[in-house]
């Protein structure tokens, strides 16, 4: 397993006249947690299905552990699809055992592993319970455990947090960290940027089927111009006093007493420098709030507010597909 778990090169997928993914290139290096971000309909699921060989790209190529995806290299992959589903009449333990066996585990090992995972996640009492009798959250947990059971080297999780309550989201985050610690490489898609901020070493952002960013979190934040919000007494021209000190200030929407301004930091200067400059210029400061960089802001800056609004759209929006 020397090769990178995943390399996509110029992968394009069309459904009729609709291009779902356009010339997508990125790679997932060994041992990293990579977030695959974008709003619903951006082409994330289609890209992941191409990565797994479930769909073939119309153009470009996909390499999983150095070669085209097939059943032998897929044995090292655990995949959690966006659209969850299990056999409703199977028990939790049988479900995990079945999927682990399909990935090559022996019957005895798969059963032992299923017991171990169910006990570890607090589902031990529901081993023999049919999936149809479990709560939605429990069933989702069982599906996630089915994905992990064979100890894959590479985990591909498509919107793993969707449908989980905050407590189970935290459990899943812990599980992802534990898998990463075990040595697994992880690629997960999400339209909720906060999960990526907490978990990822790297992110790949997608909008309308095209890659708009690929790099580390720091590199993502660096794409944003840093700045701060400053409120001054009504009528004071902050821009005029800040410009000689090397800062640009623009009027912003008022959010409190006085006039609100956004002060942009030039390269090498930060919030302390801006505040000091304003005080030295005698600005009647009523409030000061350095901006905290968020991935959502990065996405907005890259694709615009209208596109970013789709991040908040319901997760049920599905991509248009045709045979």
């Amino acid at each position: 397993m020397g090769a990178a778990p995943l390399v996509m090169s110029g992968a394009t997928k069309r459904f009729g006249a609709f291009t779902a993914v356009k010339a997508l290139s990125f790679d997932v290096p060994q041992g990293q947690i990579v977030g695959f971000l974008g709003p619903n309909g951006a082409g994330k699921s289609t890209s992941l299905r191409m990565a797994l060989g479930v769909m073939q790209p119309d153009e470009g190529s996909v390499a999983l552990f150095g070669r085209a995806p097939d059943i032998s290299n897929l044995r090292h992959v655990g995949f959690l699809p966006e659209e969850r589903g299990l056999y409703k009449k199977m028990s939790a333990r049988d479900t995990i055992t079945y999927f682990a066996r399909l990935k090559g585990m022996s019957a005895a090992d798969a059963k032992a592993r299923a017991n171990e995972l169910l006990e570890a996640t607090g589902l031990g009492a529901f081993k023999a319970t049919r999936i149809s009798k479990l709560s939605k959250g429990m069933a989702q947990k069982v599906q996630i455990l089915s994905t992990l059971a064979h100890r894959p080297d590479f985990l591909i999780l498509d919107e793993p947090f969707s449908g989980l309550d905050p407590m189970n989201q935290q459990t899943l985050e812990d599980l992802i960290r534990a898998e990463h610690k075990r040595g697994a490489t992880i690629l997960f898609s999400t339209h909720v940027m906060e999960h990526a901020e907490r978990l990822c070493d790297r992110i790949v952002m997608l909008a309308r089927g095209r890659k708009v960013f690929d790099g580390s979190l720091d590199a993502a934040y660096a794409t944003l111009g840093q700045g701060a919000r400053m409120a001054v007494e009504h009528g004071f021209d902050l821009a005029a006093v800040m410009r000689p000190k090397g800062f640009e200030a623009h009027r912003a929407a008022d959010k409190g007493p006085g006039d609100s301004w956004r002060v942009e930091f030039p390269s090498g200067l930060g919030a302390q420098d801006a505040l000091r400059a304003a005080l030295e210029a005698g600005a009647p400061i009523l409030g000061f709030q350095p901006e905290e960089a968020r991935l959502r802001d990065v996405f907005v800056s890259l694709v615009g507010e209208a596109e970013a609004a789709a991040l908040d759209a319901p997760a049920s929006v599905t991509e248009v597909e045709a045979a």
Binding site: F15, M55, I71, Y87, L102, A322
Partner: protein
């Protein structure tokens, strides 16, 4: 192979763990036992009923009574003969004594229907061998003697009415024969004097004439076994429609295909599923067959005559010349139809949608059934020869034609054609299944897929 086995095992256990499977399995033997017992208990528990005949001479009442006596004697003789076959020592008189008559003639308590009404309605009773009872029915000869009226409050029990009709027909026939100066058993003698027509089969010189040239059950058994096998295949294909449709819909609605297809190859998935459904229907039919075979074996052990009847069928069913091509046709036919139904099932999202597919599927399946009917009537018919070249019919008709010794090249050519067609169908079905299961294509997309496959429309995806 391991993945095929795992898919097969899960699907098979999924089916056999369902209550419906065990109900279906138990239903056939249970219904046979219940049906048989019901008939026996209905016969033995029916009450003794009185009837009266109002006529001046007593000829009619004697004739009806004689008809009951005749039918009882006939039934007793048949039972005694069967008992003798089973080496049970019982005489017809003992059988007759053990089965008391259910309709007993009593003297009429009145002569008109008005006066008999209270007896028929149960307001009054008449004395008889089984105690005092109301009358069940009354026969009244009309004043001119031209008709015999049957009166009863229960029109559903028709046995007495039919017995009277038979008695009157025999009486009329006897009177007519006597009037013509002939004896009463003249017609019986005429029947016995007819020349017997014996069927012989001209055998080729190479064919052994172990049983002589006369046509026996051994000659007819291969055609009957082939017919049963063709019908069994048809029944099997008919039975799997529901399993394949519902099973695939469950997986499609459960969104489970993506997970499966990252673990197994699509052909492995299809093979495992087809095998599972085959095993489920086979288990059911084999269980019924074992039940039937056990019943037959028990009956045969009791009666050597039954053993003689079964032997030619066993010989035909174990003849490699018949059974090997028949089994190959059977397997190819099963895969061919199974792949079609599974592919169609993968295009359905709901049971309602699948139900709309059932009608065309039934029509598709009725076509070979018609061909089977024609082949039963006349297996050598040119229509069957021509129809057996049509791949959808070949699995059934080739099985039926084999006992007719068609030329070897025809058997091989039809098997080859069937194998090629099955391979093409499986290839196409895999494509359709992938489109349905992976890409979410529906029934409405099927036309487009076929057009794309034959190059009428550029492929869009």
């Amino acid at each position: 192979m391991r993945n095929i086995y795992l898919i097969f095992r899960r699907d098979f256990l999924g089916y056999v763990k369902a209550w419906g499977f065990w109900l279906s399995l138990a239903a056939v033997p249970l219904f046979i036992i219940i049906g048989g017992s019901f008939g026996y208990f209905a016969a033995s528990s029916s009450p003794v009923r009185y009837y009266a005949v109002v006529e001046p001479s007593g000829v009619i009442s004697e004739a009806i009574d004689a008809e009951f006596a005749r039918s009882e004697a006939r039934a007793a003789e048949e039972t005694a003969a069967l008992a003798a076959d089973m080496q049970v020592d019982v005489s017809s008189a003992q059988v007759a004594a053990a089965t008391p008559r259910k309709f007993i003639q009593v003297a009429p308590p009145a002569r008109t229907i008005e006066d008999l009404r209270p007896y028929l309605l149960g307001e009054k009773t008449v004395a008889g061998p089984d105690g005092d009872k109301p009358l069940f029915a009354v026969f009244l000869l009309t004043e001119d003697g031209g008709a015999l009226q049957y009166w009863s409050t229960d029109v559903n029990v028709t046995m007495l009415h039919y017995a009277a009709e038979t008695a009157m027909r025999d009486l009329g026939r006897r009177d007519a024969l006597l009037a013509a100066g002939l004896s009463a058993d003249f017609l019986k003698k005429v029947d016995e004097a007819a020349l017997p027509v014996t069927a012989f089969r001209l055998r080729s010189e190479a064919e052994p004439e172990t049983g002589g040239s006369e046509v026996t059950m051994a000659d007819r058994a291969p055609a009957i076994v082939a017919g049963a096998l063709a019908y069994f295949l048809w029944l099997m294909v008919f039975s799997i429609i529901q399993y394949l449709l519902m099973g695939t819909i469950e997986e499609r609605s459960n969104k489970i295909f993506d997970t499966l297809l990252t673990s197994v190859k699509l052909p492995e998935l299809l093979a495992g599923k087809l095998l599972a459904v085959f095993a489920v229907t086979s288990t059911m039919m084999l269980s019924w067959s074992v039940f039937a075979a056990a019943g037959s074996a028990f009956a045969a052990s009791q009666s050597p005559a039954l053993m003689d009847m079964v032997a030619p069928f066993v010989a035909a069913a174990t003849n490699p010349g018949l059974i090997i091509p028949a089994l190959i046709s059977f397997m190819l036919g099963y895969v061919l139809y199974g792949a079609i139904f599974m592919a169609l099932g993968s295009l359905c999202d709901t049971i309602q949608e699948a139900q709309t597919l059932l009608s065309p599927m039934m029509i598709l399946l009725m076509l070979p059934m018609f061909a089977i009917f024609i082949a039963f009537q006349d297996p050598g018919s040119p229509i069957i020869d021509y129809a057996s070249w049509f791949p959808l019919f070949t699995p059934f008709l080739l099985i039926l034609r084999i006992p007719q010794d068609p030329p070897l090249w025809e058997i091989l050519a039809q098997m080859g054609l069937m194998a090629i067609t099955t391979a093409l169908i499986v290839w196409g079905a895999t494509k359709v299944y992938r489109a349905g299961a992976v890409h979410g294509a529906g029934i409405g997309d099927l036309g487009g897929m076929i057009k794309a496959a034959i190059g009428l429309k550029p492929k869009t995806a």
